[in-house]
């Protein structure tokens, strides 16, 4: 019986200090959204209800109801306190996570350029059809092959011209002209012995020709 009003009085003092400026006073707590409810609001409600119960007089049924109401208000107080505490905790956790993510993001973008890749590295977009993908050696090999084929083509073109103009009788054939190939292709090292002998033979032929 005594308890609720006592607490109400204590709280009332607190209310007066902090929330008296509020438009509604203790009654206003009842108009609030349940999600905005604070422990102080619960005390306000207790005060209001306690006052009204007192007004009903000392009927034992009222006393019975008062115990239950006090119990319900205590439960509400616990829930509101607990809820607000959880909200506060979550808010703090959210803020610290935000900070952590931001930190990682700035750190990550700096690291992406300098630490992970190094100054002479570059990022390749694997979906870009024009991305670099062949090695220098592969290009060298292709060029060398192209040069070889081009020199052979030039040689064949000349040879064809020789046949066309009747400079080489058809049966004398390619043997006599193979050595040109050796002269043309470059850079190349391996040549068959047979072809080298042809040059040698040719050169000795010049010697004896003089």
């Amino acid at each position: 019986m005594e308890e609720p009003p006592l607490r109400e009085e204590e709280e009332e003092e607190g209310e007066e200090e902090e929330e008296e400026g509020d438009e509604a006073g203790p009654e206003g707590a009842l108009g609030k959204s349940p999600f905005q409810l604070t422990a102080e609001d619960v005390y306000d409600i207790s005060y209001v209800m306690g006052r009204e119960l007192m007004a009903l007089g000392s009927d034992p049924r009222v006393t019975q109801l008062q115990f239950k109401i006090v119990r319900v208000l205590e439960m509400l107080e616990t829930l509101v306190n607990e809820g607000n505490l959880t909200v506060e905790e979550l808010r703090m956790e959210r803020d610290s996570l935000k900070k952590e993510v931001e930190g990682l993001r700035t750190e990550g973008s700096a690291a992406g350029r300098e630490v992970n890749l190094g100054p002479d590295k570059m990022v390749v977009d694997l979906t870009d059809p024009n991305r670099p993908r062949f090695t220098l050696q592969e290009l060298r090999d292709v060029l060398q092959e192209r040069n070889k084929l081009k020199s052979q083509l030039l040689l064949v073109q000349e040879e064809l011209q020789c046949y066309k103009s009747g400079l080489i009788p058809p049966r004398e054939g390619s043997g006599g002209r193979r050595e040109k190939d050796t002269l043309v292709t470059r850079p190349s090292n391996a040549r068959s012995n047979k072809e080298e002998k042809t040059i040698i033979r040719k050169l000795f032929f010049f010697r004896s020709g003089k």
């Binding site: 060029l143 020789c162 080489i168 050796t182 002269l183 043309v184 090292n189 040698i200 000795f204 010049f206």
Partner: protein, 267 residues
């Protein structure tokens, strides 16, 4: 002798026959001022005693910044075409041009190199053994002239000192008025003499000076080849056993050629 050389290829086209020694472009920057073939060369050619020179391919390397017109210059000379569209050379390319100089067949293998920085490491592998280095620049872009110094240095590094003829060629002459060209040439000629190079202004688009320039290149290279060959043969004393001829079996002719030019160090 002559008859043994003829089957090596079809007759060269009329405008590749050089009978009199081609003249320089400007006496202020030229490799030689003489107007005729070297006496010894003339007599050697007349007696058809030119050894293996007619069988050889002399190597010419063209270097210079991208888009100065190296490929255009070569294509104008070798194919007589001019393509307005720019297409960057990938790595290297080459053309072979056959001449008949003083009655002797002679061939130039003209190496066209990429001007783009990223291909430098590929193209530079082809600098070695060059008898002629042509450094090209754009007459309308002074920066490309400044860069020729570096291009030449890179090309010379791969060759024996004094073994190469060097030419400095200003391209796109058609884009300049006569007066502007003369102005651009002053600086170029000064740099050419510093580089010990012969200077030429050309236009691949109009073809101006292109044939004259390459004829000059061919004649100078030819004469050097004949003289080197004469010297080599006189020192070899015509001994087949330990002369150079037998060495052909071990090394390809081009290697031997560069060895010879290095030992003579003529330029």
């Amino acid at each position: 002798m002559r008859s043994s050389l003829t089957p090596l290829g079809p007759p060269v086209s009329r405008d590749r026959i050089i009978t009199s020694f081609p003249k320089w472009y400007t006496p202020d920057a030229c490799l030689q001022l003489k107007e005729h073939f070297h006496g010894q060369v003339s007599s050697t050619c007349q007696s058809r005693n030119t050894g293996t020179v007619g069988l050889r391919l002399s190597k010419v390397v063209v270097v210079g910044d991208l888009y100065v017109g190296k490929t255009s210059l070569i294509h104008r000379f070798c194919k007589n075409v001019f393509d307005r569209d720019y297409k960057a050379t990938i790595g290297v390319d080459f053309e072979i041009e056959r001449f008949e100089i003083a009655g002797i067949p002679y061939s130039l293998q003209i190496w066209d190199t990429a001007g783009q920085e990223k291909f430098k490491c590929i193209a530079s592998a082809y600098y070695r053994g060059a008898q002629v280095i042509i450094t090209a620049f754009d007459l309308t872009d002074v920066q490309t002239l400044e860069h020729t110094r570096q291009w030449l240095e890179d090309a010379l590094r791969e060759n024996e000192p004094g073994s190469c003829f060097v030419f400095l060629v200003g391209t796109k002459k058609d884009l300049l008025s006569g007066a502007a060209c003369e102005q651009a040439e002053v600086e170029a000629v000064r740099l050419a003499s510093e580089m010990r190079a012969e200077y030429w202004s050309v236009s691949a688009k109009t073809g101006e000076n292109v044939k004259a320039f390459f004829s000059r290149v061919a004649a100078l290279a030819f004469e050097q080849s004949i003289l080197q060959d004469l010297e080599r043969r006189s020192s070899a004393q015509l001994q087949v056993g330990d002369g150079d001829l037998i060495r052909m079996e071990e090394s390809p002719p081009e290697t031997q050629e560069s060895k010879t030019s290095s030992s003579l160090g003529c330029c």
